[in-house]
């Protein structure tokens, strides 16, 4: 909108010409008193509009204390903090044409410290939805939306390739539509685990570990579709609803006790958003499932390495799970766990959430470096050999960042399940 604040300066004052108090002459300007005055009179149109949107009501609660600024990962690599966003809206910018609309990764670091509970996790999707409805979507994000809409995954791959990772695998991966029987664990494999080459490594490791532990599991295979959580955070609520309806319909066809996911974004969707649409499940992140099996894990090898762990925003801050991944890492023979300065509740975002996974170009135009690069520098600083992760967005993001920061060869990026698999099945082919 670019609306300039309507500035009014009404300087009024009173002064008495002759005043003597206790022998002291304070005549003229010495007794001048300012009348009440407006320094600036802002239009509240933009703020009124934003806070009229469902979910965005809390934006006006901000009192500019700025606690959110130093914790915002985007601020670390640019000039963006939730406080600044509020100020823009106060000054009349409704953000519809502003690149800042798309920089938030919905990591929730600001919400954790905000004394007024200004909830960017709800504000950003509500605001972005308005831009999406007007078709004002960055091209790269629109491409990902389009792939999810047409193919059920952001990579634009056909459904029939969702199980390509099972080919040549040394264990059997049952598919529910084929076995037609109830299972204990429905393993929701997720998009990047199913389609990305580095995701395949985690998927194959998971299949081996589940099999060795004797867990009764099956997957959906071609019927699985994107959970929709990231497009929801990126403002495409309709796409989220469409995908959720399709997944809920698929889940309803089968009997299972636990819904186990690789992807914290899927975890968040299934746990916090699908119930509102009628899909209630006993949802577990795979680390939460496996932590109860530590005593049953037979380690035939070890991983002799110093390992640090990156808390995924949607497993940690959003859903409070910090311990299960660490307990698993500590159970692996040879692993020496070391922490980065930003860890657990203060964990630093990889940049992939809230649509950031598909906004690399836009982010690059407004940031000094990628969040993943900043995070990799932090991991390297700990002296760790391995940066372990528990979200399928991360291996590709961090491996690229390891290379682009000149750290190739000095830091491996591995999913926790890959580390467990290496220690349990040292002879298995990756």
């Amino acid at each position: 909108m670019g609306m300039e604040p309507n500035t009014k300066k009404i300087d009024g004052y009173v002064e008495r010409d002759n005043v003597v108090i206790d022998g002291m002459d304070i005549s003229g300007h010495w007794n001048r008193m300012l009348e009440p005055r407006w320094l600036q009179d802002y239009s509240t149109d933009a703020m009124d509009w934003v806070t009229s949107l469902k979910g965005a009501e809390s934006l006006s609660w901000c009192y500019q204390c700025a606690k959110c600024v130093p914790v915002c990962p985007v601020e670390h690599v640019g000039s963006y903090g939730p406080r600044k966003l509020v100020r823009k809206v106060q000054l009349g910018n409704n953000l519809m044409e502003d690149p800042d609309l798309w920089l938030c990764t919905s990591c929730a670091a600001c919400l954790r410290v905000c004394p007024k509970a200004v909830d960017m996790i709800q504000i950003m999707p509500a605001l972005r939805e308005q831009a999406v409805l007007e078709g004002k979507i960055p091209d790269e994000l629109a491409d990902a939306f389009s792939s999810m809409e047409q193919h059920g995954n952001p990579l634009g791959q056909p459904a029939r390739k969702r199980v390509a990772w099972t080919k040549g695998l040394d264990v059997d991966v049952p598919i529910l539509s084929k076995i037609q029987k109830p299972v204990d664990v429905l393993w929701y494999v997720s998009d990047y685990t199913s389609y990305h080459p580095r995701g395949h490594d985690a998927a194959r490791a998971m299949a081996r570990v589940l099999t060795t532990l004797g867990i009764d599991f099956a997957i959906l295979g071609q019927e699985e579709k994107c959970d929709g959580d990231s497009p929801r955070a990126a403002g495409e609520r309709g796409l989220f609803e469409m995908l959720a309806e399709q997944n809920i319909e698929t889940f309803e066809k089968y009997e299972f006790d636990k819904l186990v996911v690789m992807d914290p974004h899927a975890y968040n969707a299934f746990k916090n958003h699908y119930p509102k649409m009628g899909g209630e499940y006993n949802v577990l992140h795979y680390t939460q499932l496996l932590v109860d099996y530590i005593d049953k894990m037979e380690f035939k090898g070890s991983v002799d390495a110093t390992v640090t762990y990156h808390d995924p925003c949607y497993l940690g801050r959003h859903n409070g799970e910090y311990d299960a991944p660490r307990k698993l890492l500590e159970a692996i023979p040879g692993v020496k766990l070391t922490e980065m300065p930003h860890y657990k509740a203060t964990g630093f975002c990889c940049g992939g959430g809230g649509g950031g996974m598909w906004l690399d170009g836009l982010a690059a135009d407004h940031q000094s470096e990628r969040l993943s690069e900043r995070r990799v520098r932090e991991a390297v600083g700990t002296g760790a050999d391995v940066l372990s992760v528990a979200c399928p967005y991360e291996p590709s993001r961090f491996e690229d960042a390891v290379k682009s920061t000149g750290n190739a060869g000095s830091l491996d990026v591995l999913d926790i399940i890959e580390l467990i698999d290496r220690a349990m099945h040292p002879d298995a082919e990756a």
Partner: protein
């Protein structure tokens, strides 16, 4: 300027297509229908013209159960009207399609009709020419550039040929153009908007012409046979580079 966009749906090639037991049609259970990609370009070009010059865009598609989503999507992208033409299931020959569209369009006002140059199901490319013939207006196909004249009575279009050659035509309006590629990538239709429209808007159905009889008759469908495979070049960067240079030299593609 009033623009009509003529569209149809085709099987989604992302799915594995299966041939029915009758041997001459696709197994309908294995088919997901999507808008023909070239028609999507025709729609985009129409919307771009409207954005630049004003006017209106009406999207017309052969009627089927699966086509509703494509028409609501056209509305979500910015079309002013969306109409179903007749009732058809499965594939339709170009003659039948052109006859149905001609009957539907006969009574409408329009300046320009855009359609995809062809559709991936039959690669026939005849709907545009047949429709223009029936409406007795000019037609150009394989169009990659459309510019409307100042008085809006004609368009200058580019027709693409192999090897980067193109012809420029000036065509009196109204006319039918078979679009090869729009000036911009077809825009994304927000699902949020499509779903809003599915709740709020309704689609008009125009009764099509009686089914045509001429056109192609499919006797038998075959799954393509796999031919030769690509040769994978092994070795490190230097070895691979040397092999590539050798191959290019052998074929006379590099100056010695």
């Amino acid at each position: 300027m009033k623009i009509l966009v003529v569209m149809k749906q085709v099987p989604d090639l992302a799915d594995e297509l299966e041939i029915s037991d009758d041997g001459n049609s696709l197994d309908p259970d294995a088919v997901t229908w999507v808008l023909n990609e070239f028609d999507d370009h025709a729609l985009e070009e129409a919307l771009q013209l409207k954005d630049a010059l004003g006017g209106s865009v009406a999207a017309l598609a052969l009627g089927s159960e699966a086509v509703d989503k494509a028409l609501f999507t056209a509305l979500a992208k910015g079309a002013d009207e969306a109409k179903k033409v007749g009732e058809f299931e499965g594939g339709v020959s170009s003659h039948v399609a052109a006859e149905a569209f001609a009957a539907a369009i006969g009574g409408m006002e329009y300046d320009l009709i855009l359609t995809g140059v062809q559709a991936i199901d039959d690669l026939d490319g005849q709907v545009g020419p047949l429709l223009a013939t029936k409406l007795e207006i000019p037609h150009v196909s394989v169009v990659t550039h459309v510019e409307v004249s100042g008085d809006a009575k004609s368009v200058t279009v580019h027709q693409e040929y192999a090897g980067g050659v193109l012809a420029e035509f000036e065509v009196d309006l109204p006319a039918v153009l078979g679009i090869q590629a729009a000036r911009a990538t077809p825009r994304y239709a927000p699902v949020s908007r499509v779903r809003q429209l599915q709740k709020e808007a309704s689609l008009e159905t125009i009764d099509g012409a009686p089914s045509g009889t001429s056109g192609l008759e499919v006797e038998r469908l075959f799954v393509p046979e796999t031919g030769g495979h690509a040769e994978m070049i092994e070795g490190d960067e230097d070895e691979a580079a040397e092999k590539i240079v050798n191959i290019l030299e052998e074929r006379g593609l590099l100056p010695k």
